[in-house]
């Protein structure tokens, strides 16, 4: 009975989306019922005709008696068509509306969920939910739901009529319904499990497709197309087998749903003929019985189809809800702090961070202070947690210990939008969207809304940002800054994309700027040009720059060294080079030289420079 309860649960989950459409759905349902009642009434008229005018009137040649039933059949026929028209038109709006609204709700929720969620969920599974599952649901709402109700009502009313008018024959027919019901229930239970498996496997297949398309360059470069095809075929074959199991179940239920009622009818035919011969029922009764049974038979045979459609829709709702009901672990606080204009003082206090599925913390009690207007380079080995640390400031991730303070407020007490308005990021993988260069660069400069920026100012920022990031190449694009780029447009080289991502961060004019290895893909000449202009822009903006190279470090006033999840030193480039062996190892291509006789005492130099302080000391210093 657990399955029953969860059916109710599925309905309850669906209800909020369905509620606004209830009047129309109910209207559609009533029209559908009207249509099937009209359909059921037609055999009654025919029966009356066979019993009355045709039996008696034939002798009397009373044509007038024929007119009434014919007109009645015509009226009922038109009524049925009218009801079908009404039902169709009533149901199609809510059907598509509900789908569209659920799709938007899912999309909104997905955008609200943190990046950690998206790292975990393969894209194909989300895609198959938002397109495949919701499409299934739409079709069920428009066809399946009503079909199910109409079938049920037709069967119940029809059997009722049979019981009322045909006595024993009706009982025999009803007896046939018992195994049908049992089989239908058992089918549902089994089918649901397979339906779920099939939908999940479809999602996995979609993921494989997505990866094979996104990773096409790698597959081509290594000539691995055939291997990819093989593993894809394996998955598709698995799906095929699941589908075949589904079909096997459907075949069984189709056989039962067609065979049992028809066998019952065979029994009824013999019994009815005997009864009629004995004069216990009239010939008219027998005719009406079979006419009514014919009306019931259609829905019974289709029951298998209707049921599987319903079960698929239920699975779709479950899959939809799985994502919808994933709570957001980084919600906006109930009572957010209103900060007003942000000055840009960032402070990490005793910050620890551990990824959900990992036992080892990436950041381990980190203290770091970024005073207003300063530029700090964050240096450390690949995988030391630099990017993670940078993501904590705009709340792409939230700390698992300690706190990140922006102007003295814990960022978790602020609205995410407020934090992100103050903090702009240029990611190490520059993501461009299918939009014009202008829209891509001005991504963080709102056109409307409460903090809209006037058109002239937007224009100014666009040009300034493009100029600083040395992205002058955009002027040479076919339509200049209006050229569509990204997935759906012109493809740019890695260096070009990186410069646009940098321009985007600059154009946002944030109080805090986070640049994740912003110059890695640039050639030396461009890098130099960007560095000198960028320094001017960074002047007065609190910036955190992740750096792998001295040329990038050159942007910063000071350097923080991250090692094994801790900030081990803070100081100027020159001082750290002299005093910190790890720093030298990480940043200097000339490490060999340093370790050579030129600077034999570099590492051991005891009191190097006042700037080179422990992080704790640095924190205090910043309080001044």
């Amino acid at each position: 009975m657990g399955s029953h309860l969860s059916t109710i649960a599925s309905v309850r989950r669906l209800y909020p989306y369905v509620r606004p459409a209830m009047p129309r759905l109910v209207g559609g349902l009533l029209s559908a019922l009207g249509a099937s009642l009209a359909a059921l009434a037609i055999p009654r008229v025919l029966q009356a005709l066979v019993e009355g005018p045709l039996a008696e009137g034939a002798a009397a040649h009373d044509l007038g008696a024929l007119v009434v039933p014919v007109v009645l059949v015509l009226v009922l026929g038109v009524a049925e068509a009218g009801f079908v028209l009404l039902r169709r038109n009533l149901v199609m709006y809510p059907g598509t509306r509900i789908e569209a609204e659920m799709r938007m709700a899912l999309f909104r929720h997905l955008q609200d969920l943190p990046v950690a969620f998206h790292d975990r969920w393969p894209g194909g599974q989300l895609l198959s939910r938002i397109m495949g599952d919701l499409g299934l649901l739409r079709r069920w709402l428009i066809f399946g739901l009503l079909q199910l109700v109409v079938s049920a009502v037709t069967i119940v009313v029809g059997v009722g009529i049979l019981l009322a008018t045909a006595g024993w024959l009706g009982l025999v027919y009803l007896a046939g319904a018992v195994p049908v019901t049992v089989i239908a229930f058992r089918f549902s239970r089994r089918y649901r499990v397979i339906a779920r498996l099939s939908q999940d496997q479809s999602g996995d297949l979609a993921t494989t497709v997505e990866e094979s398309v996104h990773g096409i360059r790698v597959l081509k470069a290594f000539g691995r197309g055939r291997d990819a095809l093989e593993s894809f075929t394996g998955q598709a074959e698995e799906l095929r087998q699941t589908e075949m199991r589904k079909a096997g179940n459907q075949a069984t239920v189709t056989t039962s749903l067609q065979l049992i009622p028809e066998v019952t009818l065979a029994v009824c035919l013999v019994l009815g003929s005997v009864l009629a011969a004995q004069g216990q029922i009239t010939l008219g009764d027998l005719v009406a019985f079979f006419l009514t049974a014919a009306v019931i038979n259609g829905p019974v045979i289709d029951l298998g189809m209707t049921l599987s459609m319903t079960l698929n829709a239920r699975t779709a709702v479950d899959r939809f809800c799985e994502v919808m009901e994933t709570p957001n672990p980084l919600p906006d606080p109930a009572d957010p702090v209103e900060t007003g204009p942000v000055r840009g003082h960032v402070r990490l206090r005793d910050v620890s961070f551990r990824y959900e599925d990992s036992a080892v913390p990436v950041l381990d009690h980190v203290d770091l202070d970024l005073p207003v207007g300063t530029t700090t380079a964050l240096v450390g080995l690949t995988g030391s947690g630099k990017s993670t640390l940078a993501m904590l400031v705009p709340r792409i991730f939230d700390v698992t210990g300690g706190e990140v303070l922006l102007d003295g407020h814990d960022v978790r007490t602020m609205r995410r939008h407020d934090v992100r308005r103050a903090v702009a990021v240029a990611f190490e993988d520059p993501t461009l969207f299918s939009a014009s260069v202008r829209d891509n660069v001005l991504l963080g400069v709102p056109e409307d809304g409460p903090d809209a920026v006037p058109a002239e100012e937007r224009e100014r920022r666009l040009h300034e940002a493009v100029e600083v990031a040395q992205a002058g190449f955009v002027a040479d694009l076919p339509q200049g800054v209006e050229t569509r780029i990204g997935e759906e447009g012109l493809s740019l080289s890695g260096g070009q994309r990186q410069r646009l991502a940098l321009a985007r961060a600059i154009a946002a004019r944030p109080a805090v700027l986070v640049l994740d290895d912003p110059l890695s893909a640039l050639d030396v000449a461009t890098e130099e040009a960007v560095t000198s202009r960028l320094r001017e822009v960074l002047d007065g903006t609190t910036s955190l720059v992740i750096a792998h190279r001295p040329s990038t470090v050159a942007l910063a006033d000071r350097v923080a060294v991250l090692q094994d999840g801790r900030v081990t030193a803070v100081g100027t480039h020159r001082d750290l080079l002299a005093t910190d062996a790890h720093y030298r190892h990480v940043i200097s291509s000339l490490e060999q030289d340093w370790e050579d006789a030129d600077h034999p005492d570099a590492v051991t130099e005891p009191d190097a420079e006042p700037e080179t302080t422990a992080p704790q000391a640095q924190t205090e210093e910043s309080e001044r």
Binding site: I42, L54, M92, M131, V209, V213, A294, T382, T431, L477
Partner: protein
Amino acid sequence: MSRPSAPTTPAPDGPRRPTDADADDATRLDRATSRAVRSRSMRLLGSMLRPRRKALALAGVLVVLSTLGQVAGPWLVSVAIDSAVPDLMDGDARTLTIVGSAYLVAAVAGGLCAGAYVRQAARIAQGVLLDLRRRVFRHTQLLSLEFHESYTSGRIISRQTSDLEALRELLDGGLTGVVSSLMLMIFTGVALFLVDPVSGLVLVVALVPAWLLTRWFQKHSQLFYRQQRTTSARLIVKFVETMTGMRAVQAFRRESTTEAEYHRLGEEYRDANLRIFSVNGRYQPGLVLIGNVAVAAALAVGGWRVYSGALDVGVLVAALLYVKRFFQPIQQLGMFYNSFQSATAALEKVSGLLAEEPTVVEPRRPVALPRARGTLRLQDVTFRYGDGPVVLPDLDLTIPAGQTVALVGTTGAGKSTLAKLVTRFYDASEGRVLLDGVDVRDLSTTDLRRAVVMVTQEAYLFSGSVRENIALGRPGASQEDIEAAARAVGAHEFIMDMPEGYDTDVNKRGGRVSSGQRQLLSFARAFLADPAVLVLDEATSSLDIPGERLVQHGLQTLLADRTAIIIAHRLSTVAIADRVLVMEHGRVVEDGTPADLAAGDGHYAALNAAWQDSLV
């Protein structure tokens, strides 16, 4: 319909592709194109069904038998009423026994055949679907990079997911429904003619408006179904893009804007669906109306004939049952027709993708090159993207086997283009690229890819373990080899730091493997592949200095006995080269050893000086 010869936009630098106004997305096609598209998709369908002729024939027999079983019912009922009951009244039970047994046999046989048909239809449908999935997947893999860059990944994904899904829906259930409904109608019609030809004529008259209505429906719905496929593809493209770029969306507070765009596309999709339903919503009641009027007409005509004594009541009942039954499957048919039309539109799109010819084609009679030495020669090579301006003008270059060549130059100088020609991601517009004296166009993909491997800046990881990702370089490699490759490029340490070492699922950590680490993994891949020619296109840009140092060490061993082309803006990588080529506007302007060039007064010397400055 072939993809339009893309209006390629001129490329100031870097590879360019057309801003695609994608004619494939057009929904309103002129008559000739529409017919061509139809026949193309029908040809595809034909090619899938032809090898399954026998299975289809069996399915046909099964569906006919099961329909016969259903159709026999009303006729047997009429016999029972007209003959068996009177006979029974006369004390003769034989007729009833025969009729009763016949009904039973029909019921059992019909039911069994119906079930067998469902299974058989599923076997065919799933077979077709698997074939088609494979075909589309394989074809997509074969298509040149040029195509991928203009068609966009989102659209390819939608062809392989939602379009094939539409087809699956038809095949799974829909087709069974269409076929059995049609069969039921045909048989019912025939049975009606056998029982009472006059009522049959009534039906024929009723078929005229039904046919006209169907024509109207077809004409209108086709357009809307195409629209549905196109709008759904757009929705998918937007979705994939947003989910892939979620970091940027959130960091720049673009949620509401993206939402508005997605909403707009969603509404377009909904509109298309709504139009379909609304056309459907008029078609179906129309058919019901026609059916019911036909029943009334048959009743009037039949009743009159019964009056005049020309017809038995039992026959009239059977005739009326048949007329009613004839129109009953139409309800179902409407629903299936929906998925049929949707699938046809999808098939049009899929067949369009399959009709794309790869511009880089596998040779018909490949020259075998089982063991390449790695001599590269570019002979009078000219290259342009599509109809764009020339990117490489008349380049002539020989790279002896075993030489490590560094390509230096500003963005857009043609370095990456050269790399793509050598690796045959693109073919030269004019001239030839020779590997060991063989035109690369004459080599089989297997031989070429074994000999030449490229590592690019975007180090893509597939879901699966770290081990599987490295093993991509050489499937079936042993754990020792994989580890040795990882050690050689300095990736072993961080891999061992992961929760499950080489078995760690990158999908779980994929978002967290830093781009430097990803580059190391793709280096390990190349190391494992062990090619004669290795092309590195900005493959070290995200490495940190210690990482680069390690790779550098690894490279020296790795490159010792093979040909290498290295594109890097960091001259540290260039230092290990035997030879430097400075490129500008597609031409080689300097050519020499790093030391010689550094000592000179050309571009390289200037770059080298700047780079030395940037080191501290």
